[in-house]
Amino acid sequence: MIDSGSTTFMLVCTMLVFLMTPALALFYGGLSRRKNTVNTMFMSIAIIGVVGVLWMVAGQSLAYGGDGSPFIGGFDQLFLNGTLEEVLNPVDGTFPPIVNIAYQMMFAVITTAIITGALAGRMKFGAVLTFAGIWLLLVYAPLAHMVWGGEGSLIGSMIGALDFAGGDVVHISSGVTGLVLCVLLGKRRGFGMLSYRPHNVPSIVLGAGLLWFGWFGFNSGSEFAADAVAGLALLNTAIAPAAAMISWMAVEKLMTGKATLVGACTGLVTGLVVITPAAGFVAPWAALVMGIIVAPICYYGISWLKKKIGYDDALDAFGCHGIGGIVGGILTGLFCVPELSWNDMGGLLYTGDPSLLIAQVEGILITVVFVVVMAFIIGFVVKKIFGGLRVEESVENEGLDVSLHGESAYPAFNGLD
């Protein structure tokens, strides 16, 4: 027998995580310049297609197939081989394994889509999709295995780092990859001189709202059962972003005199990111603290570090997801309630023992190093294939929408940009 309650829970959470990618398209689309709106949204939408198909073809197998390598799954589930048999001959368990395949597919899609925030306005479309496909198979799938591959996996089992819903696997991996591509791509022409601003604030609000909505499924679904811990994960996923939003607004008020709506939305996203690795591990008060802490750190990363170092992370994929994910991973090592931990290590604050904290940092370091190396290599290969990652100057000036796709986002509206 399976548990129809938890099965329903996982079915619904799968749908919710799916929704995050269209939500991200709206979020990123609103943040982009008007002339690049179609291209920006298209990157996320097309990734649903590319990753959806590739996950079925090989991703699921590479991540969760095989027999227990520390680094990667196997080839036994290519094309979801064996899945239909499981449907026809159900085994006992909380829910049918096929539901988890769909759930994991949605994780792979949104993770890959997050990267595109760093690329807005200048990358060849074919290169984006090719990079996304290779990255899924060579970075995401192995990393998911290392962290969530169970018994014997490098980060999750051998090191014992905790990652409830995807601090390492989702946010650090995508954010850092975004950063690497920024460096490979170079800045948008006119970066720093031109007045880049979001072109559609309601679209950003809608995107952020739907992201948050979907994120409830993302974080509480990662409990894989409809129980009290799922409730805790849900509550924490409400509290941390609420706190981070207020915290970001306070920082803005202090630094520039005015709280902005785009700022509030950015702040809540950093709160969502920071609570992701911790959602089912920490108490509600800790979620509050994590939300308050993460916003100023990301604010600083986006407004100061980015200018200082000089990379052009257009829509702040690294600034929000990379930095926020690292902060969240580390704080999990501090605040994890021992009784809720997946292994015998608890947060420093409760146990006085830094083992978990150290494991968290190790997990993050391995993730960062692995991702940086792989992203550079894949980036170079894709650059070779396409004769450069970047569009022509004239395409960039005219806007990628009309040049690359022959479409304008709002052809019946006048305006500048």
């Binding site: 601003r197 803005e252 520039t256 785009v262």
Partner: protein
């Protein structure tokens, strides 16, 4: 006939429209434009980074009038929309050679 072109602040749109109606002008064409002038733009912040905006939204009124009305209308506009702050806008006056009311085909001043 003259064409009076006034570039004003968006917040003065409604008052100017009302003032012109009251003055008996009920033909005018309005559009939104972006302007640069002595008002050098403002700063906004996007995720903590300064954004300099050197074009600001402005409203353009175009009003075709008889030669005799020009001065009074220019004065009316000036008084209605002036705040004394930089960015109040400009008025340009130029000649119109002919005017046609499409509905009737009338031409010249009576078509205004």
């Amino acid at each position: 006939m003259k064409m009076i072109q006034a570039i004003i602040r968006p917040s003065k749109l409604e008052v100017l429209k009302e003032a012109l109606f009251k003055a008996g002008i009920n033909g005018m064409t309005i559009s939104q434009v972006q302007g640069c002038g002595n008002q050098h733009g403002w700063k906004e912040y996007f995720r903590g980074s300064e954004v300099i905006l050197n074009v600001l939204p402005k409203i353009k009124f175009e009003i075709a009038v008889n030669d005799s009305q020009v001065d009074s209308i220019v004065e009316l506009i000036t008084e209605t929309v002036r705040t004394g702050e930089v960015g109040d806008g400009k008025i340009f006056v130029s000649a119109v050679e002919d005017c046609v009311r499409i509905r009737t085909g009338e031409r010249g001043e009576k078509a205004l």
